[in-house]
């Protein structure tokens, strides 16, 4: 193990602190990651030039590789914001969650996950999830309890709630993609563009292929006549805008942005 560390990236205190803090926060957006990186340089190696983020992360990942963990980059499915999380690649179980939740709570999550994957929209209604409470493994759980457990999932960034419906948090998608693909190979949806797991997205009404909203945005950028890449039929949905971090910062004073930023920080 040590020999592979030598040949690949070199871990310095800058990298170690970065890892420590990333681990503490769990999941971070790109601007937070950049700030974190600068902070770590400031603390440990003031005079060094800050390495390009991509190289910095690849360097760390080469060391983490033999440990089956990785700093994974993903994008929020609704508006394409880049986010990063430290992910365990071992897919034997829902590893990260296993330590936090009781058996029946984990099973509730599994049930919710199945409903989400099977759904058309990528959302499962609270009612449908709660109706499955009787089928849970382990200690019997009442619906009231289950509601609280669902809220716990939201707080821990495994689920997102929107108007009484639940979908997977980006962090859960990053962490569990492999697990999901292996456990639900038939039900799982894949984006036609990036070939990653798809929970929310748009689909072609003719041939049924699906694409992530940010993937749609990039693919059809400045294309006045968007057509399905698979069957060439007219693409019937609104084309969202490509995520622009600059615009994001300018609009940073707007209430909704502030709120979402704050909610992403611990």
């Amino acid at each position: 193990m040590q020999s592979s560390t030598r040949k690949m990236g070199i871990m310095t205190d800058v990298h170690r602190r970065f890892l420590q803090l990333l681990m503490t926060h769990g999941v971070l957006e790109e601007w937070e990651i950049k700030r974190l990186q600068k902070h770590c340089y400031r603390v440990h190696d003031r005079n060094a030039t800050v390495e390009k983020l991509e190289d910095f992360i690849n360097n760390i990942n080469s060391v983490l590789e033999s440990l089956y963990i990785e700093i994974k980059k993903g994008f929020t499915e609704d508006d394409g914001r880049p986010i990063y999380a430290l992910v365990n690649l071992a897919t034997t179980s829902i590893s990260k969650m296993a330590t936090d939740f009781a058996e029946n709570e984990l099973d509730l999550f599994r049930k919710a996950l199945e409903l989400i994957i099977d759904s058309e929209t990528g959302f499962a209604s609270s009612t449908n999830i709660l109706n499955l409470v009787d089928q849970l493994k382990g200690k019997k759980m009442r619906k009231k309890e289950a509601e609280q457990v669902l809220q716990k999932f939201v707080q821990n960034k495994w689920l997102i709630e929107k108007e009484g419906e639940f979908t997977l948090h980006t962090r859960a998608i990053l962490e569990m993609e492999q697990y999901i693909r292996e456990t639900y190979p038939d039900a799982v949806k894949i984006c036609n563009i990036c070939h990653s797991l798809l929970i929310q997205g748009q689909s072609c009404e003719t041939c049924g292929i699906k694409m992530h909203l940010p993937c749609v945005a990039k693919y059809f950028q400045s294309n006045s006549e968007p057509r399905c890449p698979h069957c060439n039929d007219y693409w019937p949905h609104d084309i969202p805008e490509v995520f622009n971090p600059e615009k994001e910062r300018e609009a940073g004073t707007s209430k909704s942005n502030k709120k979402s930023l704050r909610s992403r920080q611990h």
Binding site: Q2, M11, D13, R16, R17, L19, H39, N88, A98
Partner: protein
């Protein structure tokens, strides 16, 4: 450092415990023979941080961690421990030893488990570790634990520390940085160290041997005279010309071709091994209240040495400052 905290390398009891009743062990479980292994208490050497050299040699044979002194000693102990550990259970045919790869995988799982528990600010309880991760590999939990703490130190700069032997709780702490250690060592240890460093730094700054006369000029700062007996140091002259020389910290040689005979001091082999140039620079900076860069060529040398040391020993690195959370 909390008074109760112990280095992971120290209480290898950790794995004996599950064999005895974990929950009720009030004090130290049986399996702790003379575990105050000398390798685990490197207090003698101001330079070696507690975790690195001790954990390293005690881990699986990993040739990249040459900690000269600790290695053969610790491996011998590990062998002894292994033997002692096996004799009580020799009666029952144990399960077949797992492949090394499996132990490595368990160590990785344990690492993640510990990281996540810490992230959630949950208690890291040893029996939980055994139940949730180690499972049937209980018998090898010692080596698994060792490997895990090694990885955590190397990759994350975190110390898996047993905070309470009584409740078997672990905590993940930021590793103590070597500089704090040095400061501790220098302040608390025998003032001999200060005296020695004074002479070594003089030699270093001169870039060649230091004449005895020059050394005494410097020692005057400490109020020391060759003819005066000092309350702490005693016979200073004997100390520096005989004792330190015998311990290989200094070399005391006659200057050739000079009449009447004069003597000069050089760094001894032990000083070269134990004390880094950077430590000298920092000592000088403290004493003269100057920036170490006030001796530019020496400082450059110290940087070179530090870099060479880092490349030779990529394992021994720790966060330099105490952590401030974001």
């Amino acid at each position: 450092m909390s008074e109760q905290s112990k280095d992971l390398s120290d209480p290898n009891f950790a794995c004996e415990a599950p064999n005895s009743e974990v929950h009720d062990s009030p004090g130290v479980p049986v399996g702790i023979p003379a575990y105050d292994s000398p390798a685990a208490t490197p207090a003698a050497q101001p330079q070696s941080p507690p975790l690195g050299p001790t954990a390293a040699p005690q881990a699986e044979p990993e040739p990249q961690d040459p900690s000269d002194e600790g290695d053969p000693k610790a491996q011998q102990q590990a062998a002894e421990q292994g033997r002692a550990h096996q004799s009580p259970s020799a009666a029952q045919p144990g399960p077949a030893p797992p492949a090394p790869a499996q132990l490595v995988q368990k160590a990785h799982e344990l690492m993640w488990y510990v990281l996540v528990k810490d992230q959630k600010r949950m208690i890291i309880w040893f029996p939980d570790m055994v139940r949730d991760v180690i499972g049937s590999y209980k018998k090898w939990c010692r080596s698994i634990l060792r490997r895990t703490s090694l990885i955590l130190a190397r990759v994350f700069g975190l110390h898996l520390r047993l905070t309470s032997l009584h409740t078997m709780e672990f905590a993940l702490v930021k590793a103590l940085d070597p500089e704090e250690l040095d400061r501790m060592a220098l302040n608390n240890r025998m003032p001999m160290t200060g005296l020695l460093l004074m002479i070594l730094s003089l030699i270093y700054v001169k870039g060649r041997g230091a004449r005895e006369s020059a050394v005494w000029n410097v020692l005057r700062i400490l109020g020391l005279r060759p003819w005066k007996k000092h309350s702490t140091f005693g016979d200073v002259r004997k100390l520096i010309t005989e004792d330190f020389v015998q311990q290989n910290y200094l070399k005391y040689q006659r200057v050739p071709f000079v009449e009447p005979p004069e003597y000069e001091f050089f760094w001894g082999s032990r000083a070269r091994r134990e004390i880094t140039k950077m430590q000298i620079m920092e000592f000088l900076a403290r004493v003269f209240k100057k920036d170490p860069q006030a001796w530019p060529s020496r400082y450059r040398e110290a940087l070179e040495e530090a870099r060479a040391l880092r490349e030779a020993n990529p394992s021994v690195q720790y966060p330099r400052n105490s952590v401030s959370e974001d």
